[in-house]
Structures are given as structure tokens and as C-alpha cells.
Assembly symmetry: C2
Homo-oligomer: 144 residues x 2
DNA sequence: CTTAGTGCAAAGATTTTGCAACACC
DNA sequence: GGTGTTGCAAAATCTTTGCACTAAG
């Protein structure tokens, strides 16, 4: 699976690919799930609130449940940027998040930036980092 | 301020030091605050729940409020280890946390381990990391 | 005796769950 | 039509807040 390669990628293809995954598992494709997927692919780091606004006819718990399903399928991940709600994004094109504690800005950095730390922590502590689950907090250039 | 230098440090001195800070600001020293401080210094990465159990006569919101005060004073920090409640610790002897997503184990690593990443992120993205606020999630050696 | 701090109760924010009704396959 | 899914309402979890009362200085 490779999504998000281009900036204005054709979402329809990615949606179909994910829907195909669902069908392959005997899961069902519903109006709500299409709407959630559309919203998910149309936004950058959507929260459930954003998805809910983008798919107003879908009840909140349905969104949470489907997002959980997508995580189980390995299609998406969620990340905690700060004290607020989690944000969701596609698993492909792995990256980390710098989250400004002052203005809320989110800066994406390539996964490679944490490679050295990951190797070191694995060697020294036997600990396998999966650091995408939490953002790295701090202050962006504008907030000093 | 330097606390936690030794493993079985005499807490009373640290408590008195912090109480002195409070008094110096015209703040008040109460039975509840003493109990919270004692609990805070006696535990490793206490949550509010742990502090509450250790200081059963202190109401929960009082604990939250006092912890906020201590953060404002720069005496403590809180860190989110995962999906659960925040944990609190003294600011001195800075360290980061590896939090096992499987078993909940918390491994402390020296702040120096993130120095290279911190420098790189500052240079390349103008972003000043304060990564103590969130733990680095992953899998500990036992949980593979 | 003045004002900071406390307890209580209630609300806020985010997420989860139970269950009857619904709709995809 | 059977079973996976949804909506609704309620609850769970963690934290914050309003307010009258208490107690530290």
C-alpha cells in the first residue's frame, strides 16, 4: 500500500483500495464508511471532530469504531499531538510530528530523523521505539 | 534546586525546600500540601490516582490544583506515558521516558540521549524540543 | 481578619460500550 | 434473511471549575 505519494493525489483510488481491503475481510462497505474515508483522505491530520464536521451525517461513535477498524487493518495510525484529541493519518509515508505547545502548529519530519535514536535505544535498552504514537512537543520557530 | 541525587535521599529536605519556595511567594503551607509533597517524593512516577491513595484525606481536585501550582513554580513536570493519566516528577535530573505500550513499563533514559535529535531539529526546523512532556512509546525487551 | 486554599458537586472533554434497529451482502 | 454496522444513550476516564466554607498567616 502506497498512498499520499503526490500532493493532490487522486483520493478515489486510495478509498477504493481500502474498501477492497474491507471487502476482502468480509467486512461491509457502508455510506458512513465511505464518508469517513473521504474525510480522512481530504484532511491533513484530522481529529474525530474534524471528521465529524466533514461527515455530518455519521454519528461520532461510528467514526471512532471505524477508525479503530482501520488501525487494526494497518491502514491508519493515530497520534497524540498534545493535550487535545488524537489525530489520524495514513500509515504510508511514515513521518513524525513536531507539535508546538504554544500555537498548535504541527510540523512533519521524515521518519529518518529518528533513525539514530531508534537504533541507539534498541541497542542500549532493548526497547523498540514506535514513536509515531506521540508527537514531539516543543516550540516552533514563530513561538520561540 | 537539586533533588533526587541519591536513591534514598532524605525527602524531608526537599519537602522543606519546596515549602520554602511556596512561603517565599506568599503562598500557604497546608496539611494537604505537605501530604501531597510527601507522596510525590515517595513515589517514582506517580499519577494523581497514586498520590490520592497515598494521601487519602486530600480531595482529588486539590491534588490537581497543587500539582498545577508546582508546575508553575517549575518544581515538577508532568508526562503522558500513554493513553492513561499523566505522571508527575521533579524537574531536577532531567530524563526521558520509554513507555512500553504492551506492559506499561517505564524506562528512564538520560536527557543526553536526545541531545543529537534536539540539535538537529532546532537547526533544520527551528523547533525547540521539550520532549519530556510525552514519553517515547514502543515495546520493551520483555514484550518484544 | 483577610485571603488563599479546600471540599464538594457538577461539568467538560475525549473515548468506549450496550443494545435495539438497520442495511449490506 | 443473517450478520455486520449504526445510532442513540449512557457510562468510563481524566481533568477542570464554581462556590461556599475553612484555615493559614
Amino acid at each position: 500500500l502506497q498512498y499520499g505519494a503526490g500532493v493532490t493525489e487522486d483520493f478515489a483510488q486510495a478509498v477504493d483500495e481500502i474498501l477492497g481491503l474491507l471487502r476482502a475481510q468480509g467486512r461491509r462497505v457502508t455510506t458512513q464508511r465511505r464518508a469517513i474515508l473521504d474525510a480522512l483522505l481530504a484532511h491533513d491530520h484530522p481529529t474525530v471532530e474534524v471528521l465529524s464536521a466533514a461527515a455530518p451525517d455519521v454519528e461520532g461513535s461510528t467514526i471512532y469504531r471505524f477508525l479503530d477498524d482501520l488501525e487494526d487493518l494497518g491502514v491508519i495510525d493515530h497520534t497524540h499531538l498534545g493535550h487535545g484529541p488524537a489525530v489520524y493519518h495514513l500509515v504510508a509515508d511514515p513521518h513524525h510530528h513536531l507539535a508546538c505547545e504554544a500555537c498548535g502548529a504541527v510540523i512533519e519530519i521524515p521518519a529518518a530523523e529518528l533513525a539514530a535514536l531508534r537504533d541507539r535505544v534498541r541497542e542500549h535498552y532493548g526497547f523498540v521505539l514506535s514513536p509515531r504514537h506521540f508527537a514531539l512537543p516543543g516550540r516552533c520557530v514563530g513561538c520561540g
